[in-house]
């Protein structure tokens, strides 16, 4: 099982607007593939973390990890 936390406005891209989704583990699953499934573009993401560590979008995910996704931000 992989837990994905959609932070801030990103939750609005997931049907029903939950901020947490559980996905069944599949080998070679990446954050990029999860984004595609949710209709999010990579440009939407400002920061992706896997178990609290910054991660790139193409790194294969292990079973049991928690992915946190934050929206892009730059310039207030």
């Amino acid at each position: 099982m992989i837990t994905v936390l959609f932070k801030s406005i990103l939750s609005e891209y997931v049907p029903g607007e939950p901020d947490q989704v559980e996905l069944t583990y599949e080998p070679d699953l990446t954050i990029r593939a999860i984004l595609e499934q949710c209709g999010l573009q990579p440009g939407h993401i400002g920061l992706a973390m896997v178990d609290g560590q910054v991660s790139d979008l193409d790194c294969p995910l292990h079973d049991g990890v928690t992915v946190e996704l934050y929206p892009i931000f730059g310039g207030g």
């Binding site: 932070k7 801030s8 406005i9 609005e12 891209y13 999010l40 573009q41 990579p42 440009g43 939407h44 400002g46 920061l47 973390m49 910054v54 979008l57 946190e68 934050y70 929206p71 892009i72 931000f73 730059g74 310039g75 207030g76």
Partner: protein, 623 residues
């Protein structure tokens, strides 16, 4: 056309009012905004003028597109010499005042001299009067706007004004229109106060007519239809800039305790939308992203009339002072807006004093007995009130952190976080190095909109790379890179942002921060003016305005030595994902600054080369 061909000039010493006419060729060269502002600043100011002398001009200039019914182009600039930095003072605001000045028939307002007694300026189309403001002096912004509209019998009058902080000469006092849109930085409210000019009330009955109204309408309709679809504009519309707090905190770059830590445990509360009402907007802008906050509780009441704290304010007065109480930060924001204080410099000056207090450099004897410790929210409101009134410690802190450090002693200087004497905004260059280049190079002191921000260019499928490939920015650039790829990114986008300022563009409406693409912006310039123009010509105009700004600074004695960062940024962060890591080195940053000069055609001392000035049609600046 989107311009009137007329510049209004008012001398407050002699009470003389003049109108100068300019041909179309002037607008093609200087466009609007800071292009026109700098033209008059360079023509009309003495080389060694003091910012608070009557001879220092104060110029208000809307952008070339401002006043049209076009999306997210409401901006005007205020240009002068900054009393905070001694460098160029340049600060942009949206809202409603700039469009109204254009509708009154003027493309800029140049104010010189100083009145003996408080006055306000009343502009009703071509009727311009200097009026007594004795009854308004000392009043906060809300009551002043109300009184003026009542006296003039016209609720549509647009008022730009200073509050008591500007009157008292707080060196980071700002200027506000419509109570919630600020020319926020560089202390230009103190310049207005030094002229005894309380407000400028404008009403225009004219209408700017674009050459091709139909194309403008199409782009407006497209924008209105896309605002809630595009992820960036929809985030701005629904959640405003405060939504950024969580991302920046998770990245480890949220300025906390005077930029010592990159994460703050109170970030969630600061980002809360508990007190937010429906957002407000600016003239003819469908994005509608300005925050409005109201608090009605036993201990704190915050009036929604003054807007609400945006990302910069939440971080500057919140995390950066170790304060996570949203109600207190919202209240201080309201006090600042009533009195016209720059919340960034204010927060940074307070956090600097807190750091000096914690390090024992200053003590309760220096602070009127106040415990200036990070997280002590009880001192915030009384301290800000002292600064506005310039009482006790407030009189010193009213000068900003760099001047306060002179008094606190040499030990304190290592805790400064500024460039050219202006305190850094709420983006940490140790997490995105492009901001380091921006702070060092910005002509008006540390500024976070000198260029575009690194995160949009961090991946090849990032919004910045997709949207700006047409400018030649086709590659991803690592947020921590300091080599040529980063210099090119900052150079190209600093010229782009200069173009945005010429046109009156709001960065929250256009790429890379928002939705409207560059080809639509070019179409709007063509539609507005009828010119057969191109991005090449616009970028040259952007370069021209930057060259004029650089030349103004050179005349103030500011060259390469001024293009530096505070040593604080070369120390590692003490907490968060970047804790203990050196991510920005002084030699790399200085090398990047030199590379930028080379790309810009500036010489090794940072001055604009003679050839570059002549190429840009600025031969009149060659000595």
């Amino acid at each position: 056309m989107s311009f009137n061909g007329k510049i209004l000039k008012v001398d407050l010493t002699s009470s003389e009012v003049k109108v100068e006419e300019q041909p179309e060729s002037f607008y093609r060269r200087y466009q609007g905004g800071h292009g026109i502002g700098l033209y008059y600043l360079l023509k009309e100011s003495k080389h060694d003028v003091d910012a608070l002398e009557p001879e220092n001009p104060l110029i208000f200039a809307p952008g070339l597109l401002t006043g049209l019914r076009a999306p997210a182009v409401p901006r005007y600039v205020v240009i002068s010499k900054s009393p905070l930095t001694g460098a160029l003072g340049k600060s942009e605001a949206g809202g409603y005042w700039g469009p109204e000045l254009k509708k009154a028939g003027f493309d800029a307002l140049v104010i010189t001299g100083s009145s003996k007694a408080p006055v306000y300026l009343l502009i009703r189309d071509d009727k311009v009067e200097i009026k007594d403001a004795g009854h308004l002096w000392g009043s906060e912004t809300g009551p002043v706007q109300e009184k003026l509209r009542e006296e003039l019998g016209d609720k549509g009058t647009q008022v730009v004004q200073i509050g008591p902080a500007g009157e008292k000469g707080v060196l980071y006092a700002n200027i506000v229109n419509n109570l919630a849109h600020f020319n926020g930085r560089n202390g230009l409210g103190a310049v207005m106060g030094s002229k005894n000019l309380k407000a400028i009330a404008v009403r225009g009955s004219g209408k700017l007519k674009a050459k091709n109204e139909e194309r403008l309408k199409e782009i407006f309709r497209w924008t209105a239809g896309q605002v809630k679809e595009h992820p960036l504009s929809s985030m701005l519309h629904k959640h405003g800039t405060p939504a950024g707090i969580k991302t920046v905190n998770a990245q480890g770059g949220l300025p906390t305790n005077n930029f010592e830590l990159g994460v703050f445990e109170g970030a969630e509360e600061l980002a809360s939308e508990d007190y937010s009402l429906k957002p407000k907007g600016c003239y003819a802008c469908p994005v509608v992203c300005k925050r409005v906050v109201e608090v009605n509780e036993d201990d704190i009441v915050v009036d929604k009339m003054y807007g609400g704290p945006e990302y910069e304010t939440l971080a500057a007065l919140g995390s950066n002072c170790g304060i996570g109480d949203l109600k207190v930060v919202a209240k201080v924001n309201e006090i600042c807006n009533r009195n016209t204080l720059d919340t960034i410099t204010l927060g940074m000056t307070i956090s600097f004093a807190m750091k000096c207090f914690e390090e024992g450099i200053i003590g309760p004897d220096d602070t009127d007995g106040m415990e200036l410790k990070f997280g002590n929210k009880d001192v915030l409101i009384p301290l800000v009130e002292k600064i506005i009134k310039r009482e006790g410690i407030g009189d010193l802190l009213a000068l900003g952190s760099k001047k306060a450090a002179e008094k606190f002693g040499p030990e304190s200087k290592k805790y400064l976080v500024e460039s050219k004497g202006q305190e850094a905004p709420m983006h940490d260059p140790r997490v995105k190095t492009g901001l380091g280049l921006q702070y060092a190079l910005s002509i008006n002191g540390a500024d976070h909109w000198f260029a575009q921000h690194d995160p949009f260019f961090a991946a090849e499928d990032g919004f910045g790379v997709i949207e700006m490939a047409g400018l030649g920015l086709t590659e991803a650039v690592d947020p921590l890179d300091t080599g040529m790829a980063k210099v090119r990114l900052i150079y190209y986008t600093s010229v782009l942002n200069s173009v945005y300022d010429l046109l009156g563009v709001c960065v929250f409406g256009y790429v890379a921060r928002s939705l409207i693409p560059l080809n639509f912006l070019l179409d709007q310039v063509v539609a507005a003016t009828g010119w057969k123009t191109s991005w090449f010509e616009l970028m040259k105009a952007g370069e021209r305005a930057m060259a004029m700004a650089r030349e103004f600074n050179r005349r103030q004695g500011l060259e390469q030595e001024a293009d530096k960062l505070s040593e604080s940024f070369y120390r590692p962060l003490a907490k968060g994902p970047f804790a203990g890591k050196i991510t920005l080195k002084e030699e790399d940053l200085n090398d990047a600054v030199e590379k930028y000069y080379a790309l810009a055609g500036w010489n090794k001392s940072g001055g604009v080369s003679r050839n570059k000035l002549e190429e840009l049609g600025l031969g009149w600046l060659v000595q």
